[in-house]
């Protein structure tokens, strides 16, 4: 199946390992990724803090470009990009005033948008089966961290998973043979949107999440959100410095673990790109 792939600014930069691992597992799972032609930044999280039109128009342009590329589904792995794209499509179909504004601005007419917009977990959750698991992740204890963007608010995203206790990633981990520990911080906000402007808030949020993860006995945090992964992985040293903690907790994308379980070599999954190196942990469990 052809899927329009919107990497957004983060997947070609700070979330490179998510891009690498998605590309590595897609084709064995029967997905052909087609990059959205000439995509632009979706504007999250500044456009929706500064104006109504651009917060709609920037992601809408991407959805329209994807629609033209002949794909049935669209995925934006970064949850911030996903949310903006999802809402833009909704507005494109339901908000005639905004649509007219866009048509006027670009001097073009647009029909209804029908491409199915899915988040990164949705794209993979029904495709991974036990048949794909060549090397079960036995012995690996994880906490699954969904972050806030994929499941909240439930009025909009309730169709996907529970806003307080989501299960989709837990089910994938069960399938891969890893042990998912239940913990209370599955959807706690990591404060990534404040990481440039209120770092004290960001460090505290990261500290709390890492502390609960460590206390729950997990070897690693499994993430689906680029912003969460960046924040918890890249800023772990800053947190340790600020609070005198000694966290050394790898934060791994669920797509990287799917890849490992499928028997794809670790270097093809971007496992060398992390700030907190997950390789010693994976080697100790004979998984790398």
């Amino acid at each position: 199946m052809k899927v329009a792939y919107y990497p957004g600014c983060s997947l070609s930069g700070s979330a490179r390992e998510l891009d690498t691992s998605i590309k590595a597992i897609s084709s064995p799972l029967g997905l052909e990724l087609v990059e959205v032609p000439d995509w632009n930044c979706c504007g999250a999280s500044s456009a929706h803090s500064t104006g109504h039109f651009l917060s709609f128009a920037l992601p809408a342009r991407n959805v329209i470009k994807a629609e033209g590329a002949g794909c049935e589904e669209f995925t934006a792995p970064c949850p911030a990009c996903y949310v903006r794209s999802f809402l833009a499509q909704k507005q494109l179909n339901d908000d005639q005033t905004m649509k007219q504004h866009l048509e006027e601005a670009l001097d073009q007419k647009f029909g209804p948008s029908t491409i199915k917009i899915k988040n990164v977990i949705e794209i993979f959750m029904d495709r991974v089966t036990s048949l794909h698991v060549k090397k079960a992740l036995n012995g690996l204890k994880v906490v699954n961290y969904y972050g806030c963007a994929l499941v909240k608010p439930p009025e909009t995203f309730g169709f996907f998973d529970d806003p307080e206790n989501p299960q989709s990633m837990d089910k994938i981990m069960d399938l891969l043979g890893a042990e998912s520990i239940q913990w209370p911080y599955k959807t706690e906000c990591c404060s990534a949107s404040l990481c440039f402007t209120n770092q004290d808030a960001t460090w505290k949020a990261c500290r709390d999440i890492l502390q609960v993860a460590e206390d729950s006995g997990a070897h690693a945090v499994v993430a689906a959100c680029t912003l969460c992964q960046n924040n918890l992985d890249m800023r772990q040293t800053q947190v340790n410095k600020k609070y005198g903690t000694k966290f050394n907790l790898p934060v791994i994308y669920f797509t990287q673990l799917i890849g490992l379980a499928m028997g794809i070599p670790g270097h093809k999954l971007g496992l060398d790109k992390h700030f907190v190196d997950p390789k010693p942990l994976l080697k100790s469990l004979n998984l790398y």
């Binding site: 600014c9 070609s12 930069g13 700070s14 490179r16 000439d38 995509w39 632009n40 930044c41 504007g43 999280s45 500044s46 456009a47 929706h48 803090s49 500064t50 104006g51 109504h52 039109f53 651009l54 128009a57 920037l58 342009r61 504004h101 006027e104 601005a105 670009l106 001097d107 806030c148 963007a149 499941v151 909240k152 608010p153 439930p154 009025e155 806003p163 307080e164 959807t187 706690e188 906000c189 404060s191 990534a192 949107s193 404040l194 440039f196 402007t197 209120n198 770092q199 004290d200 808030a201 505290k204 949020a205 890249m234 800023r235 040293t237 800053q238 790109k273 700030f275």
Partner: protein
């Protein structure tokens, strides 16, 4: 158990009560009459009605960033009900809300509180009332101008713009080199081909004032 110094506590609370007594009197009827149009605009743009709030405080109880706010989310709802618009738009709360929408998920009245905050932020940004949210104003302006120039985000340019604007020159410089070495940051901006289209969107946004 922690030793508590009762006279100290009382002294602190007396100061609080004193401050409370000094608070200015508010004529709710007048405030509402003055700001009715604004409240109508807020309801229309956010699709939410703060009037539905009955102060259960679940939003504030679950808010991960309440400790950074000058008014907790439930108070913002109450202030909106009472027409205290200037106070709300001048608050730090609207800028330090991370839009995680935990409040929206838990509100028994079905108010998407995060959406209200988002809409208030847009209005404050456009009115230029961003004294307490100065850093956020600098961040969002630098971000939007980066997208305007390149069609995509130029991270190094953005970080530099923020550090210079907020006068925190060394913020996050510890992350720069490792990111470059891991190929997570690029010196040059990524550009899209059809920058003209992006320019058209920005021009149109300015034209309609949105």
């Amino acid at each position: 158990m922690k030793e508590s110094n009762v006279s100290k506590v009382l002294h602190k609370n007396n100061a609080f009560l004193e401050k409370k007594r000094e608070m200015k009197e508010i004529n709710v009827t007048q405030a509402l009459a003055k700001n009715n149009a604004f409240l109508e605009e807020l309801r229309e743009k956010s699709g939410q009605d703060p009037g539905q709030c009955f102060q259960c405080m679940k939003c504030t109880g679950g808010c991960p960033f309440q400790f950074t706010m000058d008014y907790p989310p439930n108070q913002i709802m109450r202030m909106l009900q009472n027409g205290l618009i200037d106070e709300v738009l001048d608050s730090y709360t609207i800028w330090t809300c991370a839009t995680c929408a935990t409040c929206s998920a838990r509100c028994p009245r079905g108010i998407d509180v995060a959406k209200v905050m988002d809409t208030l932020r847009v209005i404050a940004y456009q009115k230029g009332t961003t004294v307490k949210g100065r850093n956020m104003h600098i961040f969002h302006t630098a971000f939007m101008s980066s997208v305007k120039s390149h069609g995509r985000l130029y991270e190094i340019g953005l970080a530099l713009g923020i550090n210079i604007g907020t006068r925190k020159l060394i913020q996050d410089t510890d992350l720069g080199l490792p990111m470059l070495l891991k190929g997570k940051l690029s010196f040059l901006p990524h550009k899209i081909k059809d920058k003209g289209e992006i320019r058209k969107l920005y021009d149109y946004a300015r034209k309609i004032g949105e």
